[in-house]
């Protein structure tokens, strides 16, 4: 079963007396783009947190690449090859866009080399070149020297994605990657993510509200409602699932 990269089994999560996840089974196969949708409050963000290691599940297990990672913190899962972005782009506001990438690249490099790297004053030439290359690839070179906090909303999200990808993850988890974007930026993001998937070696798990984005990217869709999965399958299957139409999709589908 090595072609399943991430697997969550019977995931439950309680916050006090409120149960947000009621035993969710979910997996991401290698190379697929798996999109989790569901109405607000369905538990998408909590599922994301549990799968990425931001919080631990009340019960159930998470495995990555056949290894049990249920009790591994987020930073340890990242080292195994999970990368994630946040709903509100999180970047290092006071550092320049360039430095943001340097921090990400250096974090990746330290995992392979000795801790003496930490004593370096100036980032290695290879790191600086790589940072510049990535900024160019994501069309961010014009804001390279700006404090990241002063970037536009769309550029912040792009920078965050670039930082996450700098660590060369095998699984990319995106929490509402186009939330709050203009239609033009949204289109650009979909193309960018689709392009990444074409490059191969990357699997995707994302949550999204925008149906155009969902059906533009997904190879598989899972529908979450009140902490339970009500449907999972190919976009066509989910589109024609009567239960999904009833609780969630409604007229959005005909619009899409």
């Amino acid at each position: 079963m090595s072609d399943i990269l991430l697997r969550g089994t019977s995931l439950k999560k309680d916050y006090g007396r409120i149960t947000v996840l009621k035993g969710v089974d979910i997996d991401v196969a290698e190379g697929e783009a798996h999109v989790v949708i569901g109405p607000n409050g369905a538990g998408k963000t909590t599922l994301f947190k549990v799968l990425s290691g931001e919080v631990f599940p009340t019960s159930g297990t998470v495995s990555f690449d056949g290894r049990d990672v249920t009790r591994l913190a987020g930073w340890q899962r990242t080292r195994h090859g999970v990368g994630r972005t946040f709903q509100m782009a999180r970047i290092f506001k006071e550092l320049s866009a360039f430095e943001n990438l340097v921090v990400a690249l250096e974090a990746k490099k330290r995992q392979g080399t000795s801790a003496l790297e930490l004593l370096r004053l100036v980032p290695a030439a290879s790191i600086r070149d790589e940072a510049r290359r990535i900024l160019a690839e994501f069309s961010l070179e014009h804001v390279s020297a700006w404090p990241a906090g002063s970037l536009s909303h769309g550029d912040k999200k792009t920078l965050e994605l670039a930082m996450v990808l700098a660590a060369r993850p095998r699984l990319l988890m995106l929490d509402e990657p186009t939330a709050g974007m203009s239609p033009a930026d949204r289109q650009r993001s979909v193309e960018l993510i689709a392009g990444l998937m074409k490059g191969g070696g990357l699997s995707l798990l994302l949550t999204e509200h925008d149906m155009q984005v969902v059906f533009g990217l997904a190879t598989r869709i899972t529908v979450l409602n009140y902490g339970e999965i009500i449907a999972t399958g190919s976009p066509e299957e989910v589109r024609s699932n009567p239960r999904v139409r009833e609780v969630y999709l409604g007229h959005d589908v005909s619009a899409a």
Partner: protein, 326 residues
């Protein structure tokens, strides 16, 4: 070298050389009383730099740095008095003991994320250290350890005696220069870059694969060890160590100095410590005035000039330049 100038290494070395030069020149022009206070000021500068490293680079507010001064001072004094160690190994012992204490406190206190909790926890642990040391018979209880000598600096090939007050003063300046450089490296190297990133967004740093707690703990231990080494200079300099070195006033002094000079600047604590020393000296005969002046200044800085003295100077210079260019 162009790259190193980007991180400011040449500027740093120039300022450090200038300050060290001024400190070295002092005994030639000032009386021994002033030289004694200057030695204390150098020690306080290092302690304030270590505090500000935690505050401004790591983003944690410690109200318990006195604990590390205390164990460093006692560790160094005991190493000299009881174990007969020479000066450098004694400083090493002090750094080790203080670093271990920082490790123990950090493991417990750094679990609490909120800044104010950490501040109060460190305050409580430092108070515990202060009370405990004052009750231990071997450490002289409330009277402390007296008659601490100044053993020679053994460099392997040569032994340099530092018994004379001026020689020991130079030794303090030398150690101060080294520790200042250590703090600068910790702030501006890749290590410091990671810490600054953590301060700005620890979730993001974590999901780049950074062990956030590990880094914060390492930084706390480093600051504790440096503070301990600085504290170890106190015994041989004043010939006595007492539990009062662990009083919480000793923890708040570096906060005050860093804020006075400008916590956002590497040199802020240095400026603040010197200013504080001058202020204390100038108001030494007036009961209560030292507290009123420093308290008032600190309040004014937090309320009106968060950049401290260096920040204020910077804005003034910019204003003058703008006036001129008109």
């Amino acid at each position: 070298m162009t790259r190193l100038s980007q991180v400011g290494l040449p500027q740093f070395l120039a300022i450090l050389a200038l300050l060290a030069g001024a400190a070295v020149a002092l005994p030639g022009i000032a009386n021994p009383g002033i030289v004694f206070l200057a030695g204390l000021a150098v020690i306080e500068i290092v302690i304030a730099l270590a505090f500000n490293f935690l505050f401004s680079t790591v983003g944690i507010l410690s109200f318990g740095q006195a604990a590390f001064i205390l164990v460093g001072a006692y560790g160094g004094a005991a190493a000299i008095k009881f174990a007969g160690l020479s000066l450098l190994p004694a400083l090493l012992v002090a750094g080790l003991v203080a670093g271990l204490l920082a490790l123990a406190i950090g493991v417990v206190a750094l679990r609490r994320v909120e800044g104010v909790y950490f501040a109060v926890l460190t305050l409580a642990f430092a108070s515990l250290a202060y009370l405990t040391v004052g009750k231990v018979a071997v450490l002289g209880r409330e009277d402390g350890l007296t008659g601490i000598t100044r053993p020679a600096v053994d460099l392997g090939i040569v032994e340099i005696p530092v018994v004379a007050t001026t020689s020991f003063y130079y030794f303090i300046v030398a150690v101060g220069v080294v520790l200042t450089a250590v703090m600068w490296f910790a702030t501006n190297s890749q290590f410091g870059r990671v810490l600054r990133a953590i301060r700005q967004d620890q979730e993001r740093a974590g999901f780049l694969g950074v062990n956030v707690q590990g880094y914060r703990l390492a930084a706390f231990v480093l600051a504790g060890a440096v503070t301990g080494i600085a504290g170890a200079l106190l015994g041989p300099w004043t010939q006595i160590v007492t539990p009062d070195l662990g009083h919480w006033i000793q923890s708040t002094k570096p906060i005050l100095q860093a804020m006075l000079g400008g916590a956002g600047f590497f040199w802020g604590p240095v400026v603040g410590a010197i200013l504080f020393a001058v202020l204390t000296y100038a108001t030494r005969t007036l009961v209560g005035i030292t507290e009123i002046v420093t308290g008032g200044l600190l309040l004014a800085i937090v309320l009106a000039i968060p950049g401290g003295l260096l920040g204020l100077t910077g804005s003034l210079l910019r204003m003058i330049r703008r006036e001129r260019s008109r």
